[in-house]
């Protein structure tokens, strides 16, 4: 047996747009990953605790509401606080190009915006795992 890659797909904050997150979750399942989906309205604390219990390799954050600059880095910081920053955080959603460098600086390793083909996301996971 070989190690399976486990990925938590999570939606922080109050954003209710869940189509993209569900779409990505399903596509990653079809690509052979084990995907944990926790639904909308998760606090950064719940996301981090879930990721640790589920022993995931990646956390994929999804946000379309515009609150990414505030919420994404919160997850990164909490993960560090729990000594679990070996877990890779990436994300996607409606995120202006101009915000991406700042997010990367804060520890979001990759950001995927609307229209991203799923194969790009898979290629990223394969290169980072």
């Amino acid at each position: 047996m070989t190690k399976k890659i486990r990925i938590l797909i999570a939606k922080p904050g109050l954003d209710g747009h869940d189509r993209g997150a569900k779409y990505v979750a399903r596509a990653l399942k079809d690509a052979g990953y084990e995907v944990i989906y926790t639904g909308i309205r998760q606090t950064p604390d719940a996301i981090v605790k879930t990721a640790i219990q589920e022993d995931v390799d990646f956390i994929g954050l999804s946000l379309l509401s515009g609150a990414h600059n505030e919420l994404f880095p919160k997850v990164v910081d909490l993960l560090k606080l729990k000594n679990a920053d070996d877990i890779i955080i990436f994300g996607g959603g409606v995120i202006p190009e101009s915000d991406i460098p700042g997010l990367k600086e804060k520890g979001i390793r990759a950001v995927f915006t609307p229209g991203t083909p799923i194969k790009d996301i898979i290629a990223y996971i394969e290169s980072a795992k």
């Binding site: 070989t2 190690k3 990653l28 399942k29 995907v35 926790t38 022993d55």
Partner: protein
């Protein structure tokens, strides 16, 4: 290994999480075996529930409510929620915990999603050993949610002290089909979605089926409870019945009996897999299979004779014959 085990005994969350991955991935079998053996003296204190029933019956929603109540009496709860792996991609969507996510930040609750990874029987191959990890870590309750239930998904019965079978109105003929096998595995029958039409009728149907069964085996008498997980109705009553059923199991010795049967199954399972593995290694089946296929295909050998001879050689090597 001693170190990982010690961390588990100290309830270190990351150690628990990682050891379950170690068990699931089977990347290092001897490490896994050492871990389970080290934990073994610390196991046996947790009460293990299995919750099963058709997909969508409300198993996860009910667990969410049960956890709420168990936490009120300060019990620590671990959940292992099993979902199926895709036979095509090997991937899985593990979505059970979505319904229990309000407990995500409670340190007294540990929810672990588990993909079946091709294991048949309604749970995963790693479930049995994962229960031990939670047990040793001091969780008062370990609850297994199965992937669903059909004629063959009944392995949860072999892993738990009590099986809760969740049924819902509107299954129609399914209940008919389920009478035979699956009804046998429930210790407590929970009719969920009592807020929907048909719940009372379902209750009388189940009572009827059980009365047929009970007239044959006098020892069993089942309890049936009715709940609505979404409306938070009947939960306390269901839990009271579960607790009292557990007490009776404990008091009349059936619990010890069940647990011994569980160990018996476990030992048999370990024995068969290990013997299979060493036989495979000795016979070198993977490499020689092609040659054998050819021999049998060309009628140079016949299947039983060929393999009886090879297995005979294997047993001789072991000095068993």
């Amino acid at each position: 290994m001693q170190n990982l085990a010690n961390q588990i005994l100290k309830q270190d969350i990351r150690a628990i999480a990682r050891s379950i991955s170690l068990i699931e991935n089977e990347t290092d079998i001897s490490q896994k075996e050492a871990l389970i053996d080290t934990l073994h003296p610390h196991c046996g204190n947790a009460i293990v529930w299995g919750i099963t029933g058709p997909p969508g019956a409300g198993k996860s929603s009910l667990l969410d409510r049960f956890i709420e109540h168990l936490r009120q009496s300060n019990k620590k709860v671990a959940v292992i929620a099993v979902d199926p792996s895709s036979p095509f991609s090997g991937g899985a969507i593990l979505g059970d915990r979505l319904r229990m996510q309000k407990h995500a930040t409670d340190d007294g609750v540990f929810i672990r999603s588990m993909a079946s990874r091709g294991h048949l029987g309604g749970v995963a191959g790693a479930t049995a050993d994962a229960i031990k990890v939670f047990d040793a870590a001091g969780f008062d309750y370990v609850i297994i949610e199965t992937i669903g239930v059909g004629q063959t998904e009944i392995e949860v019965m072999e892993l738990s002290d009590i099986v809760l079978l969740v049924l819902v109105p509107g299954l129609g003929d399914e209940i008919q089909a389920m009478k035979a096998g699956v009804m046998e595995i429930g210790d407590i029958f929970i009719i969920n979605k009592k807020d929907l039409d048909g719940a009372d009728r379902l209750k009388s149907e189940i009572e009827y089926v059980l009365s047929l069964k009970d007239s044959m085996e006098s020892a069993s008498n089942h309890s049936i409870c009715m709940t609505s997980a979404t409306q938070n109705d009947g939960i306390g009553d269901a839990l009271a019945q579960i607790h009292s059923y557990f007490s009776s199991l404990h008091d009349d010795g059936r619990l010890a009996q069940k647990r011994k049967e569980r160990i018996e199954k476990e030992l048999k399972h370990i024995a068969t897999t290990k013997i299979m593995a060493s036989a495979n290694r000795f016979l070198n089946i993977d490499q020689r299979l092609n040659d054998w296929v050819e021999e049998v295909f060309q009628k140079k050998a016949s299947p039983y004779k060929l393999l009886n001879k090879k297995i005979g050689e294997f047993l001789q090597e072991l000095n068993w014959q």
